[in-house]
């Protein structure tokens, strides 16, 4: 099978067979934690120390 000949549905089926639900949850949870810390966290200490990053990355934060 060449890389060009499968479809998005095939990929989803393959992933279903390959990834355990707990692994998927783990990956998702980790991603959510990063998003929250970098973009949303308003707690003053964390907020203040990420301040330069948020300005430089153009993140709508404060």
């Amino acid at each position: 099978m060449t890389p060009e000949s499968d479809t998005v549905a095939d990929r989803i089926d393959t992933a279903r067979a390959e990834i355990a639900p707990t692994t998927a949850l783990g990956i998702f949870g980790f991603g959510a934690a990063i998003t929250f810390t970098l973009l949303l966290l308003q707690e003053p200490l964390a907020h203040e120390s990420l301040h330069n990053f948020r300005h430089a990355a153009g993140i709508v934060c404060h």
């Binding site: 099978m1 998005v8 810390t37 970098l38 203040e48 330069n52 430089a56 990355a57 153009g58 404060h62």
Partner: protein
């Protein structure tokens, strides 16, 4: 198969993160620090002076930059795994299309309404309103990117040049309309317009470079292992 893409995405994100962390340390940190001191009274702390040492802020921001690129790289790998068959182009070109879509979705579209701002900016909207607006704009950006790809794929059999025009139309239309319609929500009363423009260009270019670097590194890693199957491997005899 999925994990190959995910790992490759994280690796690509790591490479981009090292570059971006270096950029944060060498360019963005000193610049933000300077802009902060150049203007009077800008600080997030309650009574003027900052509660956290500047070196800590600088270090955490570099780490934040690294983590940000890692995060984008991981997302890139996952999304590329699922959407690769539907993306236009072949080989590494698909990765660049996805990187451009990601940049359009989470950065460019929101920035058309809420542009990147330097320290000391005055905001017209409250933080929570801006978050809601940002989330809406990300969704809009995703729709624009998806319609662009769909338009390209539909027109592609009738000629590639025509398809490129069709694919570019939603993006150009959105950029023009959004930048005309959106009111000025952020202003910098103490900074010159030139400086603000330069600052914004720096932000846009640095974020764009992260995506470009992720796609390029991912493509390079993919070329190093050309003979992989896209389906799950049939049970391989392991020595």
């Amino acid at each position: 198969m999925f994990f190959t893409y995910f790992k490759r995405g994280l690796l690509a994100g790591g490479v981009a993160g090292l570059a971006y962390g270096l950029f944060m340390a060498a360019v963005a940190n000193p610049l933000v620090g300077y802009l902060e001191h150049a203007q009077h009274g800008h600080s997030h702390a309650p009574d003027g002076g900052s509660v956290i040492a500047e070196s800590t802020t600088a270090l955490v921001s570099v780490g934040g930059g690294l983590l940000w690129a890692l995060f984008l790289g991981g997302c890139f790998g996952i999304v590329l795994y699922f959407l690769e068959p539907a993306l236009p182009g072949r080989g590494a070109a698909k990765g660049f299309v996805l990187a451009a879509s990601g940049f359009l979705t989470i950065s460019v579209t929101p920035w058309l309404v809420l542009p990147p701002f330097a320290p000391g900016a005055e905001q017209a909207l409250a933080t929570s309103t801006r978050f809601a607006l940002y989330a809406g704009l990300v969704a809009l950006g995703g729709l624009i990117a998806a319609s662009s790809v769909l338009a390209y794929n539909r027109i592609e059999p009738r000629g590639r040049a025509l398809a490129v025009v069709a694919g570019a139309t939603p993006v150009v239309a959105a950029v023009v309309v959004l930048s005309l319609v959106s009111p000025t929500l952020v202003s910098h009363p103490e900074l010159s317009a030139d400086l603000v423009a330069a600052y914004r260009a720096m932000v846009v270019l640095s974020q764009g470079s992260i995506w470009l670097l992720i796609a390029a590194t991912f493509g390079w890693l993919q070329r190093r292992t050309p003979f992989e199957s896209t389906t799950t491997e049939p049970t391989q005899p392991t020595p």
